[in-house]
Amino acid sequence: MKAFAADLHVHTGLSPCAAEEMTPPAIVQAAVERGLAMIAICDHNAAGNARATIEAARRAAGFSPGGATRARGASGVKLTVIAGMEITTAEEVHVVGLFPGVGAAEAAAEEVRATLPDGDEAYTRRFGGQRVMDADGRVVAEEPKMLAAASGLDLSAAVALVKKHGGVAVAAHVNRRSFSVFSQLGLFPADAGFDALEVFTPCLAAAQPAADGPSGRADVRELRKLGLPMVASSDSHFLADIGRARSVFEMEAPTFEELVLALRGVGGRRVTHA
């Protein structure tokens, strides 16, 4: 069993609230520099930059687009990029879906997209650009839908959508005051079907319980009672935040399939927060 540091919630410039600097190659470079073996690209209600980021990681590791190994790559360090999406449900709960492949993520995103309102100039001015990029970080298109809006899917429909496409559903930043299961729904629905909880904190082991009661922030001790695996992720909107929160996955290889087994604790695999 090997240990792989992972930050499974990173936005790109496709998310209107993320910085322009969040381009596929810049994200890959920052992740590699900070010792991450895996990241997941999770834009709001979209997966349009996952493919480019996967390609950027492949190039950084020294592979040509066709898959043939070059003699010497740019960095030679391999980074696994998982294709994900952060769905905003009708209740304004954020659900992170992590998918087995980029095709699955894109198909799920297409279904979410169909429920989103159209954006306009005023929306772009207030919320920011939504840049679809290539592996070099060049803007190839602007997403016209309102990615910052709530989708038409309620919580159970969003979780079901993720599973339909073979993904795992993670309750995003459960200890934050906004857009979390707790803030929007007050209590954690036991039958929601989540595979894991995402905790927004640099180090779960050191996390202090919230002192201010039922304010929308659940404390870590309470979260443990839900019996779901916990992952720490950065929810990065800026390059400086990538890897600031991370989990360590002890598993055979840095793949989606192994990650699922680690979340379930199969065969000695596990998630730790060193």
Partner: protein, 83 residues
């Protein structure tokens, strides 16, 4: 946000909301609310309605917005706990 209802709603109060998730009932029971008004034509599904019957929470629905409903309740003399 239902977390705010949990933390601050007065016992016997009325919740006016566009939220139709089952947890609205759970939170109303926990906060000991008397009734829920679903605004803007939002209609909860059968499971939510059955839970409300089981828990003895009265449900109302209106095409009006939450703003208009609360304004009308205020006009009728309904006041918050600190007034």
């Amino acid at each position: 946000m239902l977390s705010d209802v949990l933390a601050h709603a007065p016992k016997g109060g009325v919740l006016v909301t566009v939220q139709v998730h089952l947890n609205v009932i759970a939170v109303a029971v926990h906060a000991e609310l008397a009734a829920i008004v679903f605004a803007s034509g939002r209609i909860p599904d059968d499971a939510v309605r059955a839970k409300a019957v089981e828990e003895g929470i009265a449900l109302y629905g209106s095409e009006r917005s939450a703003f208009d409903i609360v304004g009308r309740l205020y006009e009728l003399g309904v006041r918050g706990p600190r007034e």
